[in-house]
Symmetry: C2
Subunit: 605 residues, 2 copies
């Protein structure tokens, strides 16, 4: 397994230099403490923890997996101790309010923390990660008493939380939820039903586990309009947070999965468990959606984390493994063969990984800064605009970054040749671990429908037009830091981006018009549309990076190689990856008939 | 795990109707027995064996894996018994000469057998599959005594064989092979060295295992010109084939792998083992290459097998799983939701799988018929032309079909949503099992260099031009069976194919010219060139199928749905998959600078 090394140079370049986090944080009270020095100290310490504590547990966690012992989940060796250290360091509450025990730092900084932790050990990171979902739900929809009791414990990390949505008969189609909530005289509810695919549904990290459960009241309307949200703790606490009676929340079984084996995926049985309504009756789904956009950045993160980790592993192997001679002449004549990094196709794979890892990082941070406005924005209007902007970006972040992250993980394995298939090297684990990211939190297909059907067509393209306008204006602006031959290269990049941005607008209109005629045109174009959009958004991130690199080089820097590398990677991206838009464009223009004309009964004989 | 059902209708359509196997077999003595009735009987019986015996062992084989017990490999439960039945049925020698105990049927028929067996259970199929490699080597390069002793046992299946090429320090770069062969007075050799990644290196199926080992004589020239080939049996036999003394061939360890867990991948130690030279001294690599083309059809097969099996699993799930309503109105109003096959994006995934599975099948059979000429061709010229044609096709068959097969396997998993990630359903196993196919027998990158560097540039494009000419002439030929509106559709398909065939020629010339200037242009274009070529070759296969379907419909048939389905799938392929050539075209035109300009030291900081 590659020993993870947090790429702090790249992280700081993107966060500070490229996106101007320092200036950005001046817009928020929460940003006051987040000075560059503070950020630096946090990242350094987080990197140390992740590299020393979490990275070594990544492969052993996969080997050992989780076990169900006497009805309770036993996590792999060392997981619990690492969590105790994490809690002692105050990491769980980094971006949560001081009044509930958090450190009150901006949401975006929490994303950088998550990146470091999750790249080192995605399975481990899912336990505190899921807890963040429960924390956000309670923070946004809980009453003061619920916040004081549950949010404080969750922010400290002494309790953890889960999200219980999926049932055997439904994942995406939550209107089919059957779990029942019957009101009791004391204002509580009796919850009965089975939930599946519950990450961190049980474990040995904390004294208590707080489940956020979607369930249906007895008189609830059918479908999605009859679902409510409940807090259901594993053990019933008193008002001071002392853990009491067992609440009949039990693990039916542990799923045996392709990967993320250190993460417990539970079937959870609620057998007359006591629950507490959170948010308004029958508005459970809306409550869920309020933080869905932020949560989905976290899932998109898995893609760029995988790209980064696999890139680190592949790069070191490509520098060491000796095989064949360069076609353009020996490069290491003193050795038995050349290191494989001399071969153009190996470089193609490494550069693809690098472009997705670093481009994805930029897109994640860019989105995270928008999330700051969503959470900490001063006015309702600012928050709503940020929500729309983020709403447009998140399906792209989630689906495009996980699809490309999976590709990158596969390329990393490919660099190792046959050795990539052997567990020992850890490269195949990255592939297995990452594969889930295209499935959970809404599959790629569902994200694509969300983007095209909901965020663009329903919204009449408002957020899309705002983004596309920003991109167009950026392209128009003449870069003052770029001169001479470099200027010509940068201008070429920007003119390509201008052109494809226009095609994007045209295409969006075409799909819009087609969908008025036939609703199946939406689903027929959606995944290609999402991928197409993703390549453009990432091109924007790479143009930004190239331009900033030229600026830094013009200023005169002590490490010009770093910035040259950014420019070369941007050029690679524009030359080799952005053209994938051509195929997606053609595929979606082919129309729905190519998919719908075959009778369901005639797919096979 | 999907219960495999051999798609005999499709297999027979492609083999008999599309490619005219009956007429083809009249060209060979070996084809005399291969009448349509005989073929039908063989396929039916093989399907029964695979469906009833092998398919049920696919998932349990993955769960149990292989074990090393007292130095010997124990295969999963039921594997050995299935092999005994297979041997009793005379399956191993189906396409091998009657004089060595085979059934003397054409090589191509063996490919259909392999397809059925390997789709049902790839891991199991590797044991007899690797043996075929050893059989072919001995048949082509062994002396009469070696054939009488070893080939007979291998053809019966009472012994099995392996190919021992790879060593820890080298896989692709076999010039680095270190295993030593020291001549003994009795004409034998003493073999010492370690080989890795030896599939079927040990097992409990047979009394003896015959290893074909690449090793170096004491005075051998350095590099690839100093490698010889040896027969090294696990137990030394007498001349009557009675197994005797242990030959110090032992299993160092079993690899722990991502998939194909039922297949034993061994580290093999040869510790002063007795070996027998096969073929001329120092010509071991050339001897290996003589049957490499045929062997690689077998590996390409893994891709289309995976596409087929995953398609079968995904299709049945898509018909049963109820989720959401069709955007164009309820399709199953009596049910709680519509089956997901109504959703365009699910159909996109299924059709992609179908297009790769059935298109891949056509390409495999098309290549297998060429292999008949290579093996059974009447004159040296016929055999050499067939070798050239096949040499051109095999890197495409091997790499393109495994890359697209892996995509198809991932799509099948994707159709299942989160359930696809759970082992129980068997869909993730197909992904894990198939992943190796892009790595072994030469990675995709190596196949691409073989295609572009060796088969096209070194050969000055002779085989390429012959194929492209065949394709061009096919497109020009007016289809007499297609009339009216259909005729227009078929002509459109053929004119697209004509156009891209011309682009292919132009592009090949461009790459040729570029490579004269800079050898790194070859490796820079190679994988994109291979994938681009693959999409065109598969388009040819789909055009052929559509035309044959129109012909059948014009004749009047009792099952028009089958042929309509072929035409719809061909249209889907041309509209949605063939356009991927656009991205590959652009990427390879970007040139080597985009890959080579970044200094090796500056990939990461």
């Amino acid at each position: 397994m590659p020993q993870y090394k947090a790429p702090l140079n790249d992280m700081k370049f993107i966060f500070n230099d490229l996106l101007g986090a320092e200036q950005h944080y001046k817009n928020f009270a929460e940003g006051e403490e987040a000075t560059p020095d503070m950020i630096d100290a946090i990242l350094t310490e987080c990197a140390r923890f992740a590299e020393e504590r979490l990275s070594p547990l990544n492969q052993t966690g996969d080997e050992q997996g989780c076990e169900l012992v006497d009805g309770n989940v036993k996590t792999p060796e060392g997981f619990k101790e690492a969590y105790q250290e994490y809690v002692a360091g105050g990491w769980q509450g980094l971006s949560h309010p001081i009044e509930y025990g958090g450190q009150g730092l901006p949401v975006s900084l929490g994303v950088l923390k998550s990146e470091i932790i999750s790249t080192a050990n995605w399975s481990w990171g899912m336990y505190p990660g899921l807890s963040l979902g429960a924390m956000n739900t309670i923070y946004l929809h809980g009453d003061e008493q619920q916040k004081a009791l549950y949010l404080t414990k969750l922010t400290e990390g002494t309790w953890s939380g889960t999200m219980c949505l999926t049932e055997p008969q439904c994942g995406t189609d939550l209107g089919q939820v059957k779990t029942k909530a019957v009101p009791n005289d004391d204002g509580s509810y009796t919850i009965s039903g089975t939930k599946i695919f519950i990450s961190a549904g049980d474990h040995d990290f904390t004294d208590n586990i707080v489940h956020i459960v979607l369930a249906r009241l007895p008189d609830a309307p059918k479908g999605t309009r009859g679902i409510s949200l409940f807090i259901v703790p594993k053990f019933l606490p008193d008002n001071d947070g002392n853990v009491g009676e067992f609440n009949n929340v039990s693990v039916g079984s542990l799923e045996v999965k392709m990967g993320i084996k250190g993460s417990a995926t539970c079937v959870m049985n609620f057998d007359g468990s006591k629950g507490y309504l959170i948010g308004p009756e029958n508005k459970g789904l809306q409550c869920m959606f309020t933080f869905m956009n932020t949560a989905r950045i976290g899932t998109g993160l898995q893609g760029s984390c995988a790209a980064e980790l696999s890139f680190q592993g592949a790069l070191s192997y490509a520098r060491e493994r000796l095989s064949m001679r360069s076609l353009s002449g020996k490069k290491a004549p003193d050795k038995v063969a050349d290191p494989i990094i001399v071969h153009p196709d190996v470089r193609r794979m490494l550069l693809t990984q690098k472009a997705f890892a670093e481009g994805g990082r930029a897109l994640i941070y860019y989105s995270a800064l928008k999330a700051d406005y969503l959470v900490h924005g001063a006015t309702e209007e600012i928050r709503e605009n940020a929500d729309d902007d983020l709403g447009f970006l998140t399906p792209i972040v989630k689906a495009f970054l996980t699809e490309t992250g999976y590709e990158a993980a596969n390329l990393g394995m490919q660099v190792y040749g046959g050795h990539g298939y052997i567990k020992e090297w850890g490269m195949e684990q990255i592939v297995r671990d990452t594969r889930i990211s295209m499935l959970y939190e809404g599959t790629t297909g569902i994200q694509a429908l969300d983007l095209l059907g909901r965020k663009i067509l329903l919204d009449k393209g408002t957020a899309f037009r705002r983004f596309s306008k920003e991109l167009g204006q950026y392209c128009k602006g003449q870069s003052k830091f770029v001169s001479g031959k470099q200027r010509k290269k940068m201008k070429k990049m920007l003119s390509e981006l201008t052109w494809i941005n226009r095609q994007w607008s045209y295409l969006t209109l075409r799909v819009f018009v087609n969908s008025m005629r036939n609703r199946d045109e939406v689903g027929s174009a959606s995944v290609d549309y999402l991928m197409y959009s993703g390549y453009i958004v990432l091109a924007y991130m790479w143009a930004l990076q190239a331009e900033k690199a030229y600026e830094k080089l013009a200023e005169g820097v002590s490490n010009p190689e770093f910035y040259e590398s950014k420019i070369r990677t941007a050029e690679f991206y524009f030359a080799r990856l952005l053209p994938r838009t051509k195929s997606h464009y053609a595929a979606m223009m082919a129309g729905a008939d190519t998919l719908m004309s075959l009778d369901e009964a005639h797919f096979a004989f």
